[in-house]
Symmetry: D4
Subunit: 247 residues, 8 copies
């Protein structure tokens, strides 16, 4: 979708044949690895490099994608990775680092951006999702303040951190069970709140549905929701918002 003008100029100047131009216009920018079409134009389009969702990928595919992206971008982020995947990646991309809590593989230096976001979570069981969000945001250049274990049944724990919440460029609120944290944080913050329902809980939480519905129906303004347990998505979005705030 990019560079249309450039291609047309070349055609007008006879630097490019009509059929080559047609092909270029139609194919856009991706690298066809056979088993996958790497979206190599994403970095230009979105300002952030493509990220690799590791879960369920075949070993050779995973390694090949990681290598290709690291070579072209200088940095890669892989999500939902297990230890084995990390080990085979590291053989080809020695800069790769793994965090077993967030299940992220990172290689290369984080982007530079500046600006702070706050990440709150309700209980200690929500920490893996919170760390996925936090480290993703850090990879994309944010400074992250972690405000963990601040469930609403003991409000004073959260209230003691009001200052941090009010200084952030974006707040991520992560909770399972009834997901009430999002509304309470939404009432304290003056910036966008990204709510992440988690599957933490039991019984009628229905794998996170209760927290999802709760957060989607939040009575507070300025709250939007991503998928259940989707710490990566929240971290990405928070980094986008932070980038707007600091540019």
């Amino acid at each position: 979708m990019t560079g249309i003008e450039e291609i047309l100029e070349k055609v007008a100047n006879k630097e490019m044949s009509v059929s080559d131009a047609e092909k270029a216009l139609k194919s856009g920018s991706y690298a066809d690895l056979g088993f996958a079409k790497l979206d190599t134009g994403r970095s230009e389009r979105s300002g952030f490099p493509e990220v690799v969702y590791c879960e369920g990928k075949l070993d050779e595919h995973l390694v090949s994608i990681f290598k290709r992206l690291f070579d072209s971008e200088g940095r890669v982020l892989g999500t939902r990775a297990n230890k084995h995947q990390y080990e085979i990646v590291r053989e080809e991309v020695s800069a790769a680092v793994y965090d077993p809590v967030s299940r992220l593989i990172t290689a290369g230096k984080p982007l530079k951006a500046g600006g702070m976001i706050a990440i709150c979570c309700g209980g200690t069981s929500d920490v893996p999702v919170a760390e996925e969000a936090a480290q993703t945001a850090e990879f994309f250049g944010c400074r992250v303040e972690r405000i963990y274990d601040v469930g609403v049944s003991g409000l004073h724990r959260l209230l003691s951190k009001t200052d941090v919440i009010r200084e952030a460029n974006c707040v991520v609120a992560i909770a399972g069970m009834e997901g009430a944290l999002a509304s309470v944080v939404g009432g304290l913050a003056r910036v966008p709140v990204i709510a992440v329902p988690t599957s933490v809980g039991y019984g009628a939480n229905f794998e996170g549905l209760s927290a999802l519905l709760s957060m989607i129906n939040s009575c507070a303004n300025g709250v939007a929701v991503v998928n259940i347990d989707n710490g990566y998505g929240a971290g990405y979005l928070a980094a986008q918002i932070n980038r707007l705030a600091v540019r």
Copy 2:
């Protein structure tokens, strides 16, 4: 189920025939009005008189039930009543009074009990449910403190009432949308919290399901839930708990 011993004594003393005793043992205590079986033993069994669910009852049935109960108990409570129903009831039971917000008809003096319960609700749209709870509890002898419009997106409104919450014998927490109020109140109270999800909200609240799931999954201790919009049920239960506390 009551008075078995008494019946048996009569049989042993030949004051009652075997067949009469059999009938008495089998029929228990109810008044068969033909169209309905009034549970006249309920007052003895539960300590509270039977309550009339008005919605959908035929006019003549409603009036007949009200009159019968008022005559035998000296007081009646009718729930989910409309104006027309009130008017026809009043013709036979002149002591009847109607409140259009809670949709309750009451006749006769409230029970005497003493003790205070607190009723909190999230927004002004929840008030009809809150009043159904409050007036039911008052009918059954509670003093009620109303803490309305204290949704969690402006926490200070609720926190300023912490003292009342901590003095009550029972707290009713009523909210629609994401129902987060129940968990926050549950964290502040030291007595049972009865949570009432309401159908207030829109979109993915699914007529109160979001608040119901939220409250059932509350991370706070000491919270139990009644049906969506069931202010009556919460008021009844709060009165039961209050009665235990003041007896």
Copy 3:
């Protein structure tokens, strides 16, 4: 929650009694109208004044709230209002203006902020939700580009607007039925995309659930979701993001 230090200083300086200070610390800032507790501190807390959800409010309450807020803030926004509500509000607040498509009442000048957001919707039936979002964002100081009727079954309509999408500080994607617009827009934008599922559709759309699930599961990065038909919520959030971008 604000001004704690100030209160403490007064206590230390004997300018305020302990009991007055205790009351002040506990009550926070709200105006108790009896039937409601107006969150007068919201403007300071969030940077945006409190907004009135009109649906279901009693006439006298609505007018009283509008007047109070207009007098103190100089501007008010009312959502989900009907014509009758507008007319009674206008009698007290003559500056009030009504738009029957978005169902918004506005009074006073919009905030000044600058910056542009784009609002896309899938079909003409989604326009009321889109206008609620657009006019809310405008009230809070955004310039809004409207990209309507760009459903994904005729992709070229959307693609012809790629430039606008890529210049915006935030994009709102509004769609009913299968809600695919959010993912396609998410692939084109480099800024946060706020997705609004609508109840437009029929059959198995289940009043917007299909679009909600679709958007929550979006394969694109940088997409977060608000409640079904919640144009106001999306406009508010977009304005928050825009404010960060232009400050």
Copy 4:
């Protein structure tokens, strides 16, 4: 249901007794193996031979069915097979071949038909379902163009294949998560689009429900949906459509 006329002629000509004719009319055409009733008339009725759903079948039953069908039809297709099942089948039907990705066992030559169908899928995780569709369609005589990893968050990858889509006799669109691919493909194709929701995704995808609802509510014309992960069903249907187009 077929051959009624023929039977009646025989009865009229005394070539068949009334009781034999009654039996024949009632029993239709199937082979009773004791544990199963093989629908041997299906090939005549549908033009395609019966297919074996392997999952959960007892070993001896599976082998016996395979052998019987291969002997009478000269070709067999088995779906949802595991490696062990393949190995025991191959002992009796040496022509059997197994593909671990699609989990299909095939024996005998594919049908001859001609004509091309296109199979698109959103991500690499959808490939097993896509291959089940592709190889089923090939078994029933289609030429298949595979267009894989063309999720809508990078539209240019799909758009570069528009020509293939527009030359096919039928297009199969396979996607998990939000399933938006079906609508986008539906907008590009002029032939029927068979949509296959997959269970790929996490969180609120609810094992494929989100993609199913999305596809059933597609805003594009000419899209119909089969069961979650049902690549076989889509391949079968595409082959039926292709057969109509090339006959």
Copy 5:
């Protein structure tokens, strides 16, 4: 998306400026009516003209769209129309005809195609959906055989029509309640079966969900499903399949 080559040739030949070419490539083909973007390229793309979904459209928009399409295409189909909409359309497009059962407005001659499709429905209450399907297919050039009131609780009614089902190029199976008709028809037909669940029924049919789930899980091969009550969608798809069969 079409004519890229042609545009490029003009650029190469200096018959078109680079900026005009860029605009043309980006805008595709649609008519911007302000309130809507008419997809005027659809006829070329899909072979069928754009169809107007009438429900919920403003009067002046509806008339304007109808007139525009009728003028450019010579024929228009409008779905889910009410009587009032028909009357205002007829004032501008005098050729318009209305059928209150199917709620379709048609103007201009049907397409010519030839070929027969069969439309079966379970009960008389399903007839409006069946007629929407039938008349849509007729508008797009099919001959339609109607097989109505053939619910599976009286199988002989359906079996007596087996011949018609086996001669059709496509069969549409429409049923509410348990939707079993789709599977039974699927077992009799050798061509694709398009299943339409209807909202006919009561109790646990959940507005058509029971029939939808039933049809999506059909044990028969060659069955695909469209949205609840979506007769139009089924008719359109059947016409696409029929067109492939007769071309």
Copy 6:
């Protein structure tokens, strides 16, 4: 499906041509009224005449069906009828009688069968469903004992009727809300219990889903369930069982 032997005999005896026989075998027994296919063989097949579901039928169709069935069978039952439908039916079938509670139209004498069934319901709001069941069973020849308003929150009312329950050939248990009546009755009866969930209740009863799930999961043996509010279905089934018991 009946009389195959007879037809074959005629063919063998040349009393019937092959083509006439083929037609007879294929068409089964129904009367084609154009708009509907009356299942005239049902009485022979099931022992009970066809019943007319009135809701949603066009006036002339309804009258024509009623007349046709009354003429051929001597009795008809119509369900879910409104007053208007009764009045137009009565003009043609003067024997028709209407009951506004059960919404049944009956014409002609009930079948004779003998034997008693018991019908229990939880509250007075369930009576319309209970009467639909009771009068249906009476039409098909049962004697019915009505045990109404015996909800499980006052068990003694039900227990006083244990003798009737234990003398019946079948018991129908009808309840809304939590539907517990089915399990309690199931524990008291020694004959089949047909459970009918009703849509009576509010809040999280979800139009009868709570009672349906409750009854389907009954811990008692010998309980089977029909659709929500389907009094007719329960009455029909009870009559079938009763007929087996008394034959």
Copy 7:
């Protein structure tokens, strides 16, 4: 609940003290094993002995219950048993026999009753549920005709067994996927049809929900439904009906 009269007579005759009578009236008949209360009066109440649900029972409890019931009744049926449970039971109750398909343990001779029921199932995967139903019914004295693998996509297989269906006292219809078998059988039978949805299938069958909804919404008369995979429940109910028919 039984023998009230007898107890009263004894009291009147001074053969029993009042307090003993009170205890007897209150306790009913059960054997308190400490960990469980065996319902020893069930055989008298229901005509069938108590059945043991084995799944999840502790080993010593299971054996103790089996032994107790076998000693008092002379026969026992255990459902959902695994091999280990069978082996430990057999050590104490040597007459015990196990069938791994139906997972039933039986000990002692079946009841004698006579009469035939038919059990149909859709596919070979439904056989375990069908056998649970069949062997339960046999244990309670029925003769069972098995009609397996008669899914509706090959109707002639089922139609060839119409005679058996029409001779049975009750028909059990067992199917997964779309569960259409129940309606088709319901149209063929003149006796009650007990429908059993199974969890067989994949994708949107949601563990049997699709078949359950389908069967509950059956368009055929005389169909009632038991829980998913509940072959035991269907066999029990069929035996109750059969017993009524043959007594």
Copy 8:
């Protein structure tokens, strides 16, 4: 939230600096362990010490929390613990005791309170949930009467315990499947009934949803519900109610 007055007095008396006071007011009372924020003020706030939810906690965190709480409170309760967790806790807190049925770890003496509550459950499979409730209530000072295996299909078992139910200060009713026990107990008791749905059952019980809906829709007064399998929550709430009754 407590001690505000005390802090303010110190400030007024210059015993505390303004900045220290500010910090104290903001931080409330919790112990920050780094990985968790222990709510050390809960005992004062709620009258009951904080309870440890063990499931999913890291070993070192669990032990550290247990030790800290035991040291400060003298007693601890841990829920949902496995054997391994008990063993590592016991190394540091030698007073710890484990019950594998309820999965509770207790250390220290129970609270003293007095008063009796009754805990009923439907079947032997519900015992683990019942024991979690019972032992929790005992830890918080209640005397507990266990009334187990009293499912409603054999009512006499429950009715024989009516006296205990009527003497309790609170009744907990625990059941899976259809959850009818709650309504029946609610009709017998005169005190609050806490209902606990369990996930016991199969098929359409949907992991406890059927019992949850049943209990939430109870027709009995004075019933409130906690989460599925949440024995702990019910025991806690019952202890709160009991404490009110005996104070």
